[in-house]
Amino acid sequence: MSLEERELEVLIGPQHPASGHMRMIAKIDGDIVVELRPNIGYVHRSVEKLAEAKKFLQIIPLVERPSLADTTANNLAYVMALEKLLGLEAPPRAQYLRTLLAEINRIHSHLYGLGIHGVMIGSSTAYMWCFGDREPFIELAQELTGARLSYSYIIPGGVRRELPSRFTEKVEKALRYMENRMKDYFNLYLNNPVTRARLEGVGVLSKEDAIRLGVAGPNLRASGVPYDVRKVEPYAAYPDIDFDIITEKVGDAFARVMVRVKEIQESIRIIRQVLKKMPEGPILHEKYIKAISPKMREYMKETGEVKFPGIFANLRIPAGEAISRVEGGRGEVIFHIISDGKMSPYRMRMVTPSFRNVILFEHLNRGVRVADIPAIYGSLDYFPPEADR
């Protein structure tokens, strides 16, 4: 028999329990995957083109939509690009609040990825635990911002809410809880011999390939490349915070999982420092505070809830170009905004980590077994809507 005849083409998705909103076209020879091609675009929402028809402030909720589990990264990166064009910087307290939300978001985004990966290799307990333990962090973020996932918390010149009362205590409780739970995660799931057998040595991405293919985020760091935008090009409050870049050497599926697990622990460290070092002061740029009516300024002081100045409705951004980079949960988010001085951007380019990682489907799934497809898919923490935008 020729190889052509031996091969079986299997279409995994878009209606498959573990495909997500995408299709994988796999050619298999027996139990070996000869070739797997990701077929993306099922949830393309034309965010970039839509942005050209929306006003600058209206784009904030829009850019959050593609990656609902990791909204703060997109929100922050977009606003940072706007601030570069506006030539202003948010006050220090706002920077710290942004960092706080970004790290809370990173924890629950990583838990989301770990949970989905768990159920993809068959551990429903890992899935339920991760999704259950996202809840305290979502609850924290909800208390801070007023919404569970689509926070729209970061605005040009600052943030929208002051810390709620007794927030530090609550955060500390959630962090301690997570630290304790991690032991059980290790006992039941991460150190489970079956989990190890499924993940170790599967989908190995070498350091050279990771760099050559332009992989982003935890997937890159799992191959031993210490690249983290928070260190390379520090933004928000990260310059003042002491934290490490988590890397693993091996580059297999288990290394990618471990990077996420250790980043959760690192985020816990960052959150503690942020809350300790949080400076006093305004949370909105004074230029905008001045534009708010005195009565509303009084109200802001009382409730800690930022009122928008009227100019936000039709915010004009000076002509120019700006690029901003942010390390989100899944990796580096890049926004490139070209403004021609009008109320909407001339062009907005949004580069998401999932889009950069999708190439790994083809690269890693060559010569693996059929059962490894979900094990590799999950370890990439790939989120189809984020890639399609």
């Binding site: 299997v10 329990p17 068959g122 429903s124 259950g132 489970n192 057998a197 499924r198 059929v370």
Partner: protein, 339 residues
């Protein structure tokens, strides 16, 4: 009238009717199925910090949820895709369930109560349990679906890797007790249970039972995230209920066998209680039920192996261990001069 009633009852308690129809046969199988599926969901839920089925009869924690599911399945439209091999597609679920249930007729309930006794009853029982997997493979072919095909083939690969070591483990007990008769084997365990005499055989057989019935971590032929539902992908309604039930029935039958071979069967009940089949039967059922419960508990702990890893376990670990088990049995027999 009274005579007729007592006649009917005595007829019911005749071994050749009681065993296939009541215990370990259909009635108990049906109750066990409803209980175990509920228990599986409940155990998994408990470990996963949730409630599981609850609202159908709340006072008992939703225990009749499975009955509701069964009713739903019964009235659901059974969809038969155009491209399937119709006869094979329709017959396989029935054959699968029937053949999974068939071995129960050989199982004795007490030293005096059995439908069928033979010098070779253990062999017969093991042979009957090997019939069902063929239909899973057939189902994969008949469904005309790529996922079904892969699922059927996976089942085929697994069968050959677990069956040989499983039989060797079972037969090592026959060597130990010098008999292939299930009644003799159970009776010989009045003192020490077989599990403690030959733990190697006991553990390897237990693992292989879970492997053969697709319990975690060996839930490979139905791996949802890989091949949707394996060979069962195209089935719906009551036909799906049958194929899903078949693997539980197989687990039940093998657990009964395990209880007889390794856990002393109806022992340690005193001989005076053996006349009525109910007490020894309950004893046997309790032991088997615990084994089933352990099997479903594993779902909450383990992910699933890859097919090649499971085959490795079958060929490279279970096979040497089961051969070792035979030698252990031979050693014990040599030292003690037969049990």
């Amino acid at each position: 009238m009274q005579d007729l009633l007592s006649f009917l009852i005595s007829l019911l308690f005749r071994p050749c009717i009681f065993i296939p129809l009541i215990f370990p046969g259909l009635t108990v199988i049906f109750i066990m199925l409803l209980m175990i599926i509920w228990l599986e969901r409940k155990i998994a839920a408990k470990v996963q910090l949730r409630y599981g089925p609850l609202y159908v009869f709340k006072p008992l924690g939703g225990v009749i949820q499975t009955v509701a599911d069964l009713l739903k399945d019964l009235f659901q439209e059974p969809i038969i895709p155009k491209t399937v091999d119709k006869i094979a597609f329709l017959l396989t679920p029935i054959m699968l369930f029937g053949l999974a249930y068939l071995p129960t007729v050989v199982i004795p309930v007490s030293p005096t109560f059995y439908a069928f006794r033979s010098d070779l009853s253990l062999l017969l029982l093991l042979t009957l349990t090997t019939l069902a997997p063929i239909f899973t493979v057939l189902m994969g072919w008949a469904s005309n679906n790529k996922f079904s095909l892969i699922g059927g083939l996976r089942e085929g690969y697994l069968v050959i890797s677990y069956e040989i070591p499983m039989f060797l483990s079972a037969l090592s007990m026959a060597v130990l007790y010098g008999s292939l008769d299930l009644v003799d084997i159970a009776e010989a365990q009045k003192g020490i249970w077989g599990l403690f005499l030959n733990p190697v055989a006991g553990i390897s057989m237990l693992v292989l039972i879970y492997m053969s019935t697709g319990k975690f971590p060996f839930e490979i032929p139905e791996a949802e995230s890989e091949i949707v539902a394996g060979a069962y992908t195209e089935y719906s309604g009551i036909m799906y209920g049958l194929v899903m039930g078949a693997s539980y029935v197989k687990l039940y039958v093998l657990s009964l066998v395990y209880a007889i071979l390794f856990l002393g069967g109806w022992n340690p009940l005193p001989a005076s209680m053996m006349d009525n089949p109910l007490l020894p039967g309950a004893m046997l059922f309790a032991k088997a039920f615990i084994l089933i419960a352990i099997g479903v508990f594993l779902r909450a702990v383990y992910p699933r192996f890859r097919i090649d890893q499971a085959m490795n376990i079958g060929w490279k670990m279970a096979l040497p261990f089961s051969i070792l088990a035979i030698f252990i049995s031979l050693g014990i027999v040599t030292i003690t001069g037969g049990m």
